[in-house]
């Protein structure tokens, strides 16, 4: 069984790991790097629970072969907060009760971050379509959408 040595940047740190043959970036992040915040909901790109940023673009880690990460910059949920300060999205999710079981939350936060980085002032419809790739079964999405809109407003005031 061949393993591939991969060098990349994860959450700001230069990191390297050995990935299983044919393994996905999701498997590598969880099992080889130990970042359990990235969740597997389906393994086939249909639920978004494993959303991470790769070179500033939100993608499903389950649909990336681990060796593709070579030389890339990856950000997971563990890298969203700024040391001891939560990202406004995290704060708004907490205050807006935008999570219940929480298993979809890391994926939503990464997708929402990618949205607000690209489109700092989205409409409700734009938020809904940008997050259509993230499934939630608990909330019915209402409070998640509100929290993202609140975060956009908060970040706009900070800027």
């Amino acid at each position: 069984m061949s393993r591939t040595h991969v060098n990349c940047t994860i959450n700001g740190d230069e990191t390297d790991f050995l990935s299983e043959s044919g393994g996905s970036l999701l498997n590598a992040l969880r099992d080889d790097v130990g970042l359990m915040g990235v969740k597997e909901g389906c393994g086939t790109g249909d639920c978004g629970a494993c959303s991470v940023l790769m070179d500033d673009r939100v993608t499903c880690a389950c649909l990336i072969f681990a060796p593709e990460a070579e030389g890339r910059t990856i950000v997971t949920i563990e890298g969203l907060a700024n040391a001891d300060e939560l990202h406004p999205l995290q704060q708004c999710f907490l205050e807006g009760a935008a999570l219940q079981c929480g298993v979809c939350t890391p994926g939503f936060l990464m997708a929402a971050k990618a949205l607000l980085d690209k489109n700092p002032n989205p409409t409700e419809t734009e938020v809904r379509y940008a997050l259509a790739g993230n499934l939630c079964r608990c909330t019915g999405y209402d409070k998640i959408i509100r929290a993202v809109l609140d975060a956009a407003e908060a970040m706009g005031e900070q800027a």
């Binding site: 359990m36 995290q90 929480g102 298993v103």
Partner: protein, 752 residues
């Protein structure tokens, strides 16, 4: 226990009813929260399950030698590694549970486990599972109640004689049981009606759809004990079921509840746990066993598909005089559909003097169904609330007025037996009738539909401990896995009872060795029952604190009051003693401050909801979009309004998916055609508007704060509300779920 507060006044609270940040929230937004698959133990192996490719077959032989010979494989198990509970004379339910976990002589659905493997990597475990050679003798299968009940249908269990039929049938069949509720004189009731409608409905199995697949880590020791880390809705119940399947005693297992990534009832049963423990015991190493998404669909309980026949009669001035309901629910491979609960909820919203409700539990070659949010009630409500709407149209009466005219109220004898105490059904109808949504005109080309729903809610066994730290802050230890935000409510109860800020309260859900027995998290029971024992702990501690203050001040306990977080002497002459003060003195006033309470809580209050939907309908393609949705639900008292809203909205959206798109699609060979989130289509964010919520508060007289469960009723009405909206816009009545674009366009074509 006797209530000391008058629940009919509307007290104002400082903490209960506020929107505090949930105690587990920070870990969940930072990725630190540990779910079932997130624990890594030293020396841990990975598991995989070998499953039947056939819907119905005899197992001729199982050859595990190739798997056992593979490098990296440390244990392989089959049913031979579990006790044969039939031989042991165990209860039938336990035997069926054990056969569900690992097939012994027959496989009963595609996906039925036949063996399991533990190996050094997931890749090797999967390869080894695939290398196990099972020889099957395929048998004919049945997939629906129609097929299962047909003359000459292949029988799944050859000793299954239908219970509830007099005289008992001679031959085995696939009808496991029959239940009946009746009252009055049905023929007279229909004779008294001016309009009688008769309709037939079908529904398909739908899955709870939790985003987290089942996962656990088992760590068995050589002394016959094991630790289990698992996402579950009820770790005590899981422990008992797992122990029975293993032939163990419950206390040989210590179960730690992981954070759970959704359950909705589907994680109140077991699938992987005995396999993981047995593999761990056999290999001597911890074993992680996680389902893939396809396994979740193929091998964990959806809720039932069904056929229902409903006949209802109404007078011209809107009195429903009679109801006849026949239903058959798919149980899957083993008995136990929610047809019993459905029979009880079917017409529970209404005061109907003459009725006959009959339900059959029917087995078929699909996964054994599991509980799904108000189990059974949404299915039968689809039929009942659709036909009620048709009656309203037939007599040209507003659908809310028709329901108000027949609504169950305090004193009504419920269709399932007991007399209703104070309930809030009428209030939910009025809330919708008076809402801005209902008063607004229906946009051109849209349809508007109304429906109502009921769920009993339950109490049950809960145990909690409250400890006061030396700094006066409060620890709550309870044993109800948190699927809806209940930890936040426990913190609010403690804050309110002690009169301290909620951020001085920590709440922990403890393992089976650390906290006393708790029933599952389900039945909308946790805020009620676990809340009650937490409240009782706090009240007992307050009495203890007053005693300690009295000792400090050398006075009588009756001279001490507890006010806003401190003990005060009624005369005002003593400096008050705060929780921190008393905690610091605890060793000198009687020792550590700690109370445990446990109770089998009764007095759950029934929950009702009424919902309103506007659909935008494209009559050229049959595609409907939910344009506006309002739900009114009686919560008794909303302890944490945001999480009450969250339960309401979550239930509604599951119902929307159930209405339009969700269904199990089987091929004729009995295999599942859509075991993925691509083709098992749950709603996505862009499908929906905001879900407007109206929390009605008609307090439950049997709870200190008036709480009624809210977790479940919300999923009961949406399918009928949507069907009613479709009819009102298109004059097409769809009586089969899901009401897909294909079904609607077909109906529109036939309408012309």
């Amino acid at each position: 226990m006797t209530m000391t507060e008058d629940p009919t006044t509307a007290p104002s609270y400082k903490w209960v009813g506020s929107r505090s940040v949930r105690p587990d929230g920070l870990d969940k937004v930072t990725g630190k929260a540990q779910f079932g698959a997130d624990l890594k133990l030293p020396n841990m192996l990975e598991g995989a399950v070998a499953r039947s490719p056939h819907a119905h077959a005899r197992i001729v032989s199982i050859d595990t030698s190739a798997a056992e010979a593979m490098a990296g494989v440390h244990a392989v198990i089959t049913a031979a590694d579990l006790p044969d509970l039939a031989d042991a004379g165990s209860k039938t339910d336990d035997i069926f549970m054990s056969e569900k976990i690992l097939a012994r002589s027959k496989v009963l659905w595609e996906g039925h486990p036949v063996a399991a493997v533990a190996a050094t990597s997931r890749e090797i475990a999967r390869a080894a599972a695939d290398a196990i050679v099972v020889v099957y003798e395929a048998l004919p299968h049945v997939l629906t109640v129609d097929e299962a009940l047909a003359d000459g249908a292949p029988v799944l269990h050859d000793a299954m004689i239908t219970r509830g039929v007099e005289p008992a049938p001679e031959a085995a069949s696939n009808a496991a049981s029959r239940v009946v509720h009746e009252r009055g004189d049905l023929d007279k009731g229909f004779a008294d009606a001016d309009t009688v409608l008769e309709r037939e409905y079908t529904t398909k199995p739908v899955h709870q759809g939790y985003i987290e697949p089942h996962a656990c880590v088992a760590d068995a020791n050589q002394d016959g004990r094991a630790n289990l880390f698992v996402s579950s809705q009820g770790h005590f119940s899981l422990r008992a079921m797992t122990a029975t399947t293993l032939g163990w005693s419950p206390s040989q297992l210590n179960v730690t509840p992981a954070e759970i990534g959704g359950g909705f009832g589907g994680k109140t049963t077991i699938y992987l746990e005995p396999l993981a423990v047995r593999l761990s015991a056999k290999s001597g190493r911890p074993v992680r066993l996680v389902m893939g998404r396809d396994e979740v669909f193929k091998a964990t309980g959806p809720t039932s598909g069904s056929r229902m026949k409903i006949k209802m009669g109404v007078t011209n001035d809107g009195k429903i005089t009679a109801a006849e309901v026949w239903m058959a629910f798919e149980a899957g491979a083993f008995p136990g559909s929610p047809v019993g609960a459905a029979s009880m909820t079917a017409i529970a919203c209404y005061d109907i003097p003459n009725f006959f409700v009959e339900g059959f539990d029917v087995v078929c070659n699909k996964p054994k169904v599991a509980a799904y949010r108000a189990p059974g009630a949404p299915i039968i409500a689809y039929g009942v609330e659709s036909i009620v709407d048709e009656l309203a149209l037939a007599i040209d009466m507003d659908p809310i007025d028709l329901r108000l005219k027949n609504a169950a109220v305090e004193g009504t004898q419920a269709s399932y037996g007991p007399e209703f105490p104070r309930i809030g059904f009428v209030e939910t109808l009025e809330a919708i009738r008076d809402s801005e949504h209902y008063k607004s005109p229906v946009p051109e080309g849209y349809g508007r539909g109304v429906a109502s729903g009921f769920w009993f809610n339950i109490g049950g066994n809960s145990t909690a401990t409250v400890n006061i730290n030396e700094d006066g802050n409060v620890n709550v230890i309870e044993g109800s896995p948190d699927i809806g935000g209940s930890r936040a409510s426990m913190a609010l109860f403690a804050a309110e009872e002690f009169g301290i800020s909620v951020d001085r309260v920590s709440v922990k859900i403890a393992d089976t060795q650390t906290v006393g027995f708790n029933d599952v998290t389900g039945g909308s029971r946790v805020t009620l029952a676990t809340g009650k024992v937490v409240i009782d702990c706090c009240r007992s501690i307050k009495e203890d604190l007053r005693r300690r203050a009295a000792k400090t001040w050398d006075c009588e306990i009756d001279d001490v009051e507890w006010v806003e977080g401190q003990a005060q002497h009624v005369s005002g002459t003593e400096t008050p003693l705060s929780l921190a003060d008393l905690a610091a003195k605890a060793p000198r006033t009687g020792g550590p401050i700690s109370v445990t309470q446990s109770e089998n809580v009764r007095g759950a209050g029934a929950g009702f909801t009424t919902q309103l939907v506007d659909l935008e309908i494209d009559q050229e393609t049959g595609v409907c979009r939910v344009a506006r949705y309002t739900t009114a639900q009686d919560a008794g008292k909303a302890i944490h309004p945001s999480y009450v809203e969250g339960q309401m909205q979550g239930g509604v959206v599951q119902g929307i998916g159930w209405a339009f798109n969700e269904e199990y699609i089987h091929r004729s060979d009995g295999t599942l055609d859509n075991p993925s989130f691509l083709d098992y289509r749950i709603p996505v964010a862009s499908d929906l508007p905001m879900i407007e919520t109206i929390i009605v508060e008609v307090p439950n007289p049997n709870h200190p704060y008036g709480v009624r469960g809210v977790g479940e009723a919300g999923i009961v009405p949406p399918m009928a509300a949507i069907g009613n909206a479709i009819e009102r816009a298109t004059q097409c009545r769809l009586n089969n779920l899901p009401m897909s674009p294909i079904a609607l366009l077909d109906a529109i074509n036939r309408r012309g």
